[in-house]
């Protein structure tokens, strides 16, 4: 596993054209053999670039902050609750929601590959699939959290969930202070991808404001 996204901005420079050519060759071959429909390939890419992503999960979390019945259903059967908002399917067939509280912080990893709840979070970022996170999340979660800028108090229990089977986990972060009268749409803007993996917290209103200011 590359240490980070080094195929993106450094190293492997000479390999890029090579792998691009290899993928092109493979694609033409599989189309010629009739195993894949080129239009289906485009729809698959478009689906995960534009339709399925962490905005879905943020809508689930925001709803759970406002609607107590929905929150209960989410804890009871997350696949059904997320499904009621239209988020179902591949890599989220057996979804479990983990609720953070002042006493307990949850964090999700897949040490053996890259298991991730696609219908609510989309495709995983490079770091989630890479060796540094996968190796350390289970053994030193507090150190990992610090690297993400989160200092977890000693008295808060940290629970790490290793996705070794087909159960997919999403974290329900705590609702930030100062958001009493916020609408569901506004609350959803506070819910980051990392807060639903458990490597971050939901944004505070001030942090959201700062993020919006260029």
């Amino acid at each position: 596993m590359s240490k980070s996204h080094d195929h993106h901005h450094h190293g492997e420079g000479s390999e890029l054209p090579d792998i691009a050519l290899r993928v092109k060759s493979l694609e033409s071959l599989l189309i010629e053999k009739g195993y894949v429909d080129p239009e289906a390939l485009d729809v698959l890419i478009e689906t995960y670039e534009t339709k399925v992503g962490p905005r879905n999960g943020a809508a689930v979390v925001a709803r759970s902050w406002l609607d107590e019945e929905f929150r209960k259903q989410l804890i009871e059967d997350a696949s059904a609750a997320a499904g009621s908002l239209g988020f179902t399917g591949r890599q989220g067939e057996h979804l479990v929601a983990l609720e953070n509280t002042p006493d307990t912080h949850n964090m999700v990893v897949c040490t053996l590959c890259s298991c991730y709840p696609w219908p609510v979070l989309g495709l995983p970022p490079v770091w989630y699939k890479s060796a540094p996170y996968r190796s350390r999340a289970v053994a030193d979660p507090r150190g990992v959290l610090e690297e993400f800028g989160v200092n977890m108090p000693d008295e808060t229990a940290v629970r790490v969930w290793d996705s070794t089977a087909e159960i997919r986990y999403m974290v329900i972060p705590m609702r930030p202070e100062g958001t009493q009268d916020w609408s569901e749409e506004d609350l959803a803007q506070l819910v980051t991808r990392d807060s639903m993996i458990g490597t971050g917290l939901a944004l505070t209103p001030d942090q959201l404001e700062a993020a919006k200011t260029p």
Binding site: K24, L30, K33, Y48, A131
Partner: protein, 219 residues
């Protein structure tokens, strides 16, 4: 298998280094690898456990020096060759020289949303009661199968508590090797951080791992 994929607890990989505003794909080749992997998997020629095994059987040095989509590409090419869907020569040239094999189905553009929405549930009907009730103590077996398994090394031999049951699920250790689904009870097992990593770990912390019944013994 004790391959490079089983990373829990290893040292020395450096900082996590998240990329700010990371795009979904870095370049068209990643899009290609992703879409081809999914589209070919829908032909029904192999299952997800076979895909994972194809990736974890890469040479450890190659696995650890590859990006994840490079690993996917290598795994895809390995399965295509193993199952005679395409030869290595064809894949290198991009030109067909052998007749295609007959596949179960081909994913069409109009079926993508429906097919993704349906997914591939792995839960099966329960034939028997679970052997371990919630709250009971279990020990993860100290086994080292040289084949596909989802029992990570870092829990083997360690004692945990059954925190919950997830129902009966397809058993990857057989499903990856053409030996059928052989579904078993799947448990959420809670291991204290101190049990796994020693007394220097915070006594407050736990690691939850999803483990099939045959990975466990009573403790």
């Amino acid at each position: 298998m004790n391959g490079a994929q089983d990373l829990g607890g290893m040292h020395g990989f450096g900082p996590i280094d998240p990329e700010p505003d990371e795009p979904v794909f870095h370049g068209d080749w990643e899009k290609g690898v992703f879409a081809l992997t999914l589209a070919v998997s829908f032909t029904g020629q192999w299952n997800i456990d076979m895909s994972r095994h194809a990736r974890e059987t890469l040479d450890p040095a190659e696995y650890l020096s590859s990006s994840y989509y490079q690993i996917w590409l290598a795994g895809l090419q390995k399965l295509l060759a193993q199952l005679d869907l395409a030869t290595r020569e064809e894949m290198a040239s991009g030109t067909m020289t052998e007749a295609p094999v007959k596949v179960q189905r081909i994913l069409s553009a109009k079926d993508v949303a429906k097919t993704l929405g349906r997914g591939g549930p792995t839960e099966r009907e329960a034939g028997a009661e679970p052997k371990y009730p919630v709250g009971s103590a279990v020990r993860a077996r100290n086994i080292h199968p040289p084949r596909h398994t989802r029992l990570p090394r870092y829990v083997r031999g360690h004692t945990g508590i059954i925190a919950g049951t997830h129902g009966v699920h397809v058993f990857p250790d057989t499903n990856a090797h053409g030996q059928g689904e052989q579904p078993q009870w799947l448990y959420s097992v809670r291991f204290a951080a101190t049990e796994l990593w020693g007394d220097d770990s915070p006594g407050t912390d736990d690691v939850y791992v999803d483990l099939w019944e045959s990975y466990l013994d009573p403790a």
